[in-house]
Subunit: 394 residues, 2 copies
């Protein structure tokens, strides 16, 4: 492919994403929903103007990394420390309820499987796919609503980060029982080392940035070096520690969130994000969808899979929030905010395929879950917040 | 390659490009020189940390498109119309002097070739490679010096645009004699149709943008739709009319340069450009370089090729400028500004290779020309402008 060919895809995606984003807002839905629909429409599923390519996948990856970096930058560190223990509890129940219900769903469809049998692991694996929340859609929706810095927003983001880590540990355990290459113990050790290095290294780097910022405030070098740091930490997290790159990006943002120039950095990153990378990321979710392989049994399973996956997060995370004395309305928001799934679910499914725990047909269920949760979550969140506003207005 | 792998390359390139950019400025050279050196350093030639990949090539392409779009947006349309005829003359001499001197150089090395012989076409082809100016480096240097909107700046940019078109027509003629697939007449017709469509379509689109801008001033949709338009026109130019995508991007910028929000669009595009795409474009020139295939004869030819190619543009364009009553100092600036070569020279060489007019060894000469002209031009331009300032100060 000639390099200039990508310009066509970019032109189509950013134009339609903006157009449907504006349409979505006119229909009182968040813009991201419109952007996903735009991807669905121009993708192979409907019009076929743009197809998935390595380039779009890579641009989308940069898009989600930038998004999480921004969230990190906007973090109120004090609020994060305060919500930390609660987020841990929410993340744990948010992993184990879907894990259990997913396994039950599989057994409901294909018969009970005794503990330790091949079928048992397949059932557990279906649950494992459901565990990892992908917070990016929720984050974008909360940003649009201006609620990302609230207690609920911080709780969701930190719970989703912890949930990612737990999800990856569970994945490694499940696969560990099938293949001898994987060492569940190693994963835990690696994770601990990563967070240790990130915290210690982060504190040192923060001092360096502070000096740089003090000497050259509001110069281009500040956001550029910050961006390079974000990319580097994302890469290192995924490559050497098996932790999602978006978690690395979020932590990079947290490291820099107390700089006096953090808003300046965020503004510069945000321009690239909303002009190009953001729309590409959201549209790429729609682009991935393809309904060709669908039949009636698979369809039934997919529908149940999506429903169980969504309810499991609402129940798991919502209950934990309620226990932690959030109001019913806030607990519901946290549950709904945690129900989005994204590329991590696809990665988990991919690993299951490689380990023989899953066949390719189930990918449809995962994609539907991503698509449906990505579209439904922002709409429901907006509705829940608008109810609050109405109540406050009365 | 996993999608996250690109993050490593991005982190290394944007960090080193910024670092060497700052170093270059400390040495009184323009930042772009530092960015090219950064690419050379981290590339296969020296450290080998980053290698050329499709992704980087595509990102670099977007980078150069954004750069030319910005130049178009900054254009003073009245000044352009005023300098048009002069630019045409400069472009013509800037194509034919290198064409002739390149052919003479080849014959000097490999013996005289009679008119119409195989060797004669090879000689003419060496000249053809030298014809197309790549204005992006000059543009970046003039932007840094704050001279892009001057008469000299506008003359260089419009001459380079016309020069591109003439260069492509020459290429098609030369190849047309070798292969029966190529129709030189068609190229001229296509070029005329493109500019006709661009001017008429541009006027209509300008009205639409004007209405949009009037209704929603300073909203995100303005720069986003403008960017989509720029990508679309770049793609259409290259795909359907065989005109370089950067020319399409420049024209897209000119179409929008009279909008009241043109500065707003330019600011938003500029952030993406200097944060990510610009450094990638300049570093990618350094990345492409590889000295492995070099021997002494080729080395001698390369050196002569570079010297002739640079002098030919200074002589051709400088003389034409002098004839058009520019001062000696301005004529020299125009000659130097026009001597940069870029990816168009590589594309021309590639086409010659496919047509059997060139062997792969000569690529080294082209790359050296690109590299040397990219580094030398900004330095010489800065020197010429600083001399002016000193004179004015006396």
């Amino acid at each position: 492919m000639e390099a200039y060919e990508v310009l066509k895809d970019l032109a189509i995606i950013i134009f339609t994403a903006k157009f449907f984003g504006i349409m979505a807002r006119k229909c009182k839905a968040p813009q991201v929903v419109g952007q996903i629909v735009a991807g669905l429409l121009v993708g192979p599923c409907v019009l076929g103007w743009v197809s998935q390519s390595d380039f779009i996948t890579q641009m989308a990856e940069i898009g989600v990394v930038l998004l999480m970096f921004e969230v990190g930058l906007e973090t109120d560190l004090k609020e994060l420390v305060k919500t930390g223990p609660i987020a841990l509890l929410i993340a744990c129940t948010g992993v184990f309820v879907p894990l259990a219900l997913g396994a039950v769903l599989y057994m409901g469809f294909y018969g009970f499987a005794p503990w330790g049998s091949e079928e048992f692991f397949k059932a557990v694996f279906i649950g494992t796919i459901m565990t990892a929340t992908s917070v990016s859609i929720t984050v974008a929706a909360l940003q649009e609503l201006g609620k990302i810095k609230t207690k609920v927003g911080t709780t969701i983001v930190s719970a989703a980060i912890i949930d990612d880590v737990i999800g990856i540990i569970v994945l490694t355990f499940v696969i560990g029982f099938k293949s001898p290459d994987s060492h569940p113990g190693m994963v835990i050790v690696k994770t601990i080392i990563f967070f240790f290095i990130a915290i210690v290294g982060g504190m040192i780097l923060f001092k360096i940035f502070l000096a740089l910022d003090h000497r050259y405030p509001h110069t281009r070098r500040i956001p550029i070096v910050a961006l390079a740091f974000c990319f580097a930490l994302s890469y290192v997290a995924e490559k050497y520690f098996g932790i999602a790159d978006i978690t690395g990006a979020y932590i990079a943002g947290i490291v820099l969130c107390n700089l006096s120039d953090n808003t300046y950095i965020e503004q510069k990153v945000d321009v690239s994000s909303y002009m190009l990378f953001g729309p590409l990321f959201f549209a790429s979710i729609g682009l991935k969808t393809n309904f060709d392989a669908m039949d009636s049994t698979l369809f039934a399973f997919c529908i149940c899979f999506v429903i169980v996956a969504l309810l499991a997060k609402i129940i798991g995370c919502g209950l934990a929030s309620k226990i932690c004395r959030y109001t019913l309305s806030d607990s519901l928001k946290i549950g709904v905010g945690m129900m989005t799934r994204g590329e991590v679910a696809l990665i988990v499914a991919q690993k299951g395929l490689a380990a023989g725990l899953l066949t390719a047909d189930y990918f449809m269920a995962v994609i539907l879950l991503i698509l449906f949760s990505s579209i439904a979550t922002p709409i429901i969140l907006k509705y829940l917040y608008s109810k609050d506003t109405k109540k406050a207005g009365q």
